[in-house]
Symmetry: C2
Subunit: 342 residues, 2 copies
DNA sequence: CGTGTTCGTGGAATCGATTCCATGGAATCG
DNA sequence: CGATTCCATGGAATCGATTCCACGAACACG
């Protein structure tokens, strides 16, 4: 334990620990001689303050927590990246937790983050307001929801307005002649799952398309359920001619099984995905997507959180979504006769 | 500041803080009555120990740091995921840092992690052994390198033996008739960049293929340089008929520009990428890859780190790599006459 | 020239938990 | 039955930094 402490620095600089601390924290009540002597001693000893001790006394840790449902989901990886960069530029370090789409793991991480006394938490929540999410509110720990929200819990949030993008998509598909659109939905236990489903239902009704409830498959935002969804939808007596997947991972699963079944995306069946991912444009055919800005979402989430930490009560922000048409949904529908049936 | 401390718990339970601490840390020197009373008080007050104070006194923080060069690189996102899960199962939380392929940011994060007194650090290093990497060693902070290493710095590591996979790839491409293979290399400032380049050079020589140095483009492991590399290689007087990209992001860049140029992957030009990513199999045509196990890498890195923390000196581990042939490199080479030239 | 500010500084208390040490009561042994 | 061991327990020191408070020197003003 040859740990260098503030006392060692103080001794070498020939001043007290109190003065050393003042110099290090930029307190103006210090003489220039003290400043240079301390600076020299710090350099000489390669001193790094113990963040734990500092946090214990000053009750701020200069760190925030970010809890995402799944780091491997490119959308959340991007989010982690932007949040982390934005936080860093404000002097905060980000502790990343991965709930792995499991409520118990979410609770486990929230507990840990609370224990470590992070200054605030950004979370894309899953489940209802029970468990540790509730504890956050009770302890008045600065919290911001990102991407998703939780009913009955009133904290600032940054979310996407999925209505516009989904309405555009349905209209676009209808214009190509599609009347039966299959929807691979997210879980109704998440706010994004519910919102997008509601938006889809409304858009389909408005466009006068089939509202057959068989056309909706409820997945879990993971790749596997995208495959399962396609499988189920294609086995209908009157299968859909276009598909909309409520997130990128389920779209990946859908693409995988469509390949396997030998169905041509964009020709045999149209496909649109929610969430824009760099690679989707590289697929052949390129995938149409409902795009929304991760960068804005991450940046704004950090902004809001810092405001909450500062004691303010910022308004929630809703970001727009927008359809980006690519080859996977460009061809007009084929006459029924020439379509294969699975 | 309605923070619940161990004293509150002690008071409610009718015992001292010392006893409460013993109960909470599972010290056997406690009576069963004390245990039940403390447990009840903890529950009643919803007490969470202050991890900072605990770490300050006990000099362990039960946390490890993971520093990756880029979270948005799916390979490192996967790595983050497995490391985090493996660490969690051993009772450690992971603090994720993102160097963003920048040495200054790497140093910034290492400093922060050192300040926070993490129990150990897993890092995929960039740059030479200077800066904060050096400080890690000097302070004898348990460190493990993952994926990459740093010359002259002797810490346990988990890396991939790229030789086998690259040799298989070159042999495979040669068998299809390719004689000029373009190589989009990683930066020579990273160990993986150097290793893979050396392996490629050796394999090409062994197979008796063209060793034209113009066939090598030096990129930076990011998508943009993949595009730039393809661009440069195709402008040669005698352009390559097959390409090998040294990581997944550069492969993504390569695919993007090949699409843009209207060149058919697997037909006009063969393409193989290092790093297996779930989506690569979904591309049309599916991408041939040199695959290595991220799961193993992450799990073993955590294993090694825990051993180092425990004071042992484990051996470094080298994992195998292997060629997975898919459609992007399956067709025999076309006769030169029928190939378009760019 | 004395009184009153201003200003840099050091001593000491403090944050919340862990842990050494001493204590007193119960259990065990000769 | 007295002496010894054992064991649960509480008091107090401790980890490393921050910050309140008081002190003394320097300076300005009347």
């Amino acid at each position: 334990m040859a740990e260098v402490t503030i006392k060692d620095v103080a001794a070498l600089a020939g001043v007290s620990a109190a003065t050393t601390s003042r110099v290090l924290s930029g307190n103006p009540a210090t003489s220039s001689q003290a400043r240079v002597k301390v600076a020299a001693a710090v350099k000489e000893l390669d001193y790094r303050p113990n963040a734990q001790a500092r946090a214990l006394r000053s009750t701020r840790s200069d760190s925030i927590g970010l809890l995402v449902p799944d780091v491997r989901n490119p959308f959340f990886a991007d989010l982690a990246h932007t949040v982390e960069q934005a936080a860093l530029s404000q002097g905060y370090v980000t502790l990343l937790g991965n709930a792995n789409e499991k409520k118990v793991q979410q609770d486990r991480y929230l507990d840990t983050l609370i224990s470590r006394r992070v200054d605030g938490i950004i979370v894309a929540p899953l489940g209802d307001g029970g468990g540790s999410i509730h504890a956050l509110i009770e302890r008045e720990i600065p919290t911001v929801f990102v991407d998703r929200t939780v009913d009955g819990i009133d904290v600032p949030s940054v979310t996407t307005d999925s209505k516009v993008g989904i309405r555009q998509t349905v209209k676009h598909l209808a214009a190509l002649g599609h009347t039966r659109i299959g929807y691979i939905s997210g879980p109704q236990a998440t706010s994004t799952g519910r919102d997008r489903f509601a938006a889809f239902t409304a858009a389909v009704a408005d466009a006068g398309l089939s509202q057959d409830s068989d056309l909706v498959y409820f997945g879990d935002f993971q790749a596997g359920s995208g495959s399962a969804g396609v499988h189920a939808l294609l086995q209908l007596d009157d299968p859909p001619t276009a598909l909309l997947a409520a997130d990128s991972l389920m779209a990946v699963g859908a693409i995988a099984i469509l390949h396997k079944l030998g169905l041509g995306i964009g020709t045999d069946i149209a496909l649109v995905a929610f969430d824009d991912i760099e690679w989707f444009a590289l697929l052949n055919p390129a995938l149409s997507v409902i795009s929304h800005s991760v960068e804005d979402m991450g940046r704004i989430a950090v902004d809001l959180l810092l405001q909450v930490i500062a004691g303010e009560s910022p308004q929630s922000v809703v970001l727009p979504s927008e359809l980006v048409i690519r080859a996977s949904s460009m061809s007009p529908i084929l006459p029924a006769a020439s379509r294969r049936k699975n």
